[in-house]
Symmetry: none
Subunit: 210 residues, 4 copies
């Protein structure tokens, strides 16, 4: 018996914790798919539990209630979304950085179709805390865009008279708009490459010097 008593005593809780964490993750994954397909109201706790392969009651050990579960799912996805957008080293010019962000944002949302639910601010539930969580992530991202704008201005690449904060808002808005279209799958709001290209050019033409 190579293991000491202590290790044995600790091992089981460790296993337990692992198993528990895995179940938590399974629930979150099921919640992502349900909320993404059906929205908050359409998704039922029962269906989430079923897809996670656990009982109804177990959800309430990890999450206060359905809304809390939604908040957590949303918080995680915004975190990942913002992470995915940060400029790469290869984005040397400020314009390339903006373009890269928009394109990576669109790509990310094509792969994670839940995010737009937040971005479009789905209603019908207490959004206060959700908005809070969202704001915590959204504002830093806008600040990042603003810093790129400032870099572009300093480099003489962007117009010197931009209202940096407001323009950052507009750019972030466009990013979420065209990212969200992957989710809507509504032919009236296409996310074809042509449209994305046009949005990129629109954005750059608006900020670049004549």
């Amino acid at each position: 018996m190579p293991e000491s008593n202590e290790e044995i005593l600790e091992e089981r809780p460790a296993r337990r914790r692992e198993a528990s964490e895995e179940r938590r993750q399974r629930i979150l994954e099921a919640a992502r798919s349900c909320f993404g397909e059906l929205g908050f109201a359409g998704a039922t706790v029962g269906e989430i539990a079923r897809r996670a392969g656990v009982s109804n009651g177990l959800l309430y050990q990890f999450f206060r209630n359905k809304e809390h579960l939604f908040e957590v799912v949303l918080g995680e996805i915004i975190r990942d979304w913002v992470r995915a957008m940060v400029p790469r080293e290869a984005d040397e010019s400020a314009g390339a950085a903006l373009e890269g962000m928009l394109r990576r944002s669109v790509d990310f949302c094509r792969a994670h179709p839940l995010l737009p639910a937040l971005l479009r601010g789905e209603r019908g539930l207490q959004l206060s805390r959700i908005q809070g969580a969202s704001r915590d992530r959204v504002q830093p991202h806008r600040d990042l865009v603003a810093s790129i704008l400032r870099r572009g201005i300093e480099a003489g690449e962007f117009r010197a008279d931009l209202d940096v904060a407001s323009v950052a808002d507009v750019i972030c808005q466009l990013q979420s708009d065209y990212s969200g279209r992957a989710y809507r799958r509504d032919p009236a709001f296409p996310d074809s490459p042509e449209i994305i290209d046009a949005a990129v050019r629109f954005m750059l033409d608006a900020v670049r010097v004549g």
Copy 2:
């Protein structure tokens, strides 16, 4: 006696019809406020009836069901929204026409805060017919924007190399974005005059010649 017999005979039904129509309007008004505040799922038939000062059952004399009521509310508001945006004669230049549209759209939505619910494509209900109704209005509006763009290009006011259709899509998107903010009342997504001004400049800088 200036009234003919016919008019007298029809008078009573006319009174009734008036009263009935007024109640229909009260229901629509209540529905607008409920759907606007609470979304489709959050709004209850009972609350709508309560705010309209009528009984639950009366709603079903005018509207097939809750969803039909929603469709009618939406259809009316999109109709009015599109109407409100059409360029005025005073908008002589193409740029002035675009700016006027965006500003009028924002103003309209400040006064009619339900519209953005459609624009953001609220989920969780049978949207097929709603999307259809929406598309019927949205595409013509995009075409209108496209025609303004073409006028600006011909006048040498806008860049000659614009992808007219796609740029019209982007502009309409921005219009609905900043119009929608009046509805959200989310400080993270402000609709302050500064932001609107910035959005207008952003749009014009993107399409005007250097």
Copy 3:
């Protein structure tokens, strides 16, 4: 002007009464068809009024409520049914009288498919008064059958040891059973000529002397 004042004064009410009676009949006719197709619970006051070509409210001028209307419809049809069954002069023998009654009952019900709803004692409503009305008609009919049985016994045509009252009950039961089948249209309970012939023979074999 050949008409006296009195006649004029009376004529209009007379016309009115006629028109009123005609509407009452239209309502009854509509009620027969609705109750027959849909049963008591399935039939709605609105549909009956629609088929009669009158307003909802008018029904309540002629009938206390939906149940009262049902009672009247039922009472009329039982009256007609019992009338239709009375033996014809041509039914010389007692056996021929019984056979004629059963066959005429079946024929009547094929033409008036509501009756069986009563005969089967549809539930779910206050049947007390309805049963009363039914009993008022049903018992006389049983008595009529009993008198035919007695005539057959006296004539040596039927068994002398029949319990006349009880056998009359059984025969009336069979009459309503096979009459009712026209209404059910359930292939499991056919009302084919063969079945009716068999029922007739069964009945006659049961009462005739060896």
Copy 4:
């Protein structure tokens, strides 16, 4: 310790399952009494739950909806009814077999007063599947009666010229008629011993040789 590990591990669920099964039975019992007294339309889910001493929602864990509950109740009762009627060994003669069936049917229905609701084909609900289920039981019973008739004919006990299939139909009809009277409790349609005796004699006289 006579119990194996497996048994111990299963014991707790077993308790639960027992309790659950008992509640299911209480619901079925309550449904029987409600449907029997009030019919399908008259019985409400709320009243059934109240009589069963459970919540409204629990019914929907066991049964898809009200109609499904009705189907199950009906299926069980028909199954038991057909079982109760099968001839006993003591019924040596064919006539005794027929008499026994009718009397046992009546006795069964006195104890299970819902059955006749099916037999009378209550309307106003989707009867397709119910009729199917019923037919599945009813026709075999008719076949059983037909085989008894054939046995009686072969034994010289019954008339040789009977139309076996049709006569079986008539006999089954009489069985359900007089069985159903226990349910109606309508003095106009008595199920007194005298009436039952008369029905038995009627049936036997109709099939026995002169």
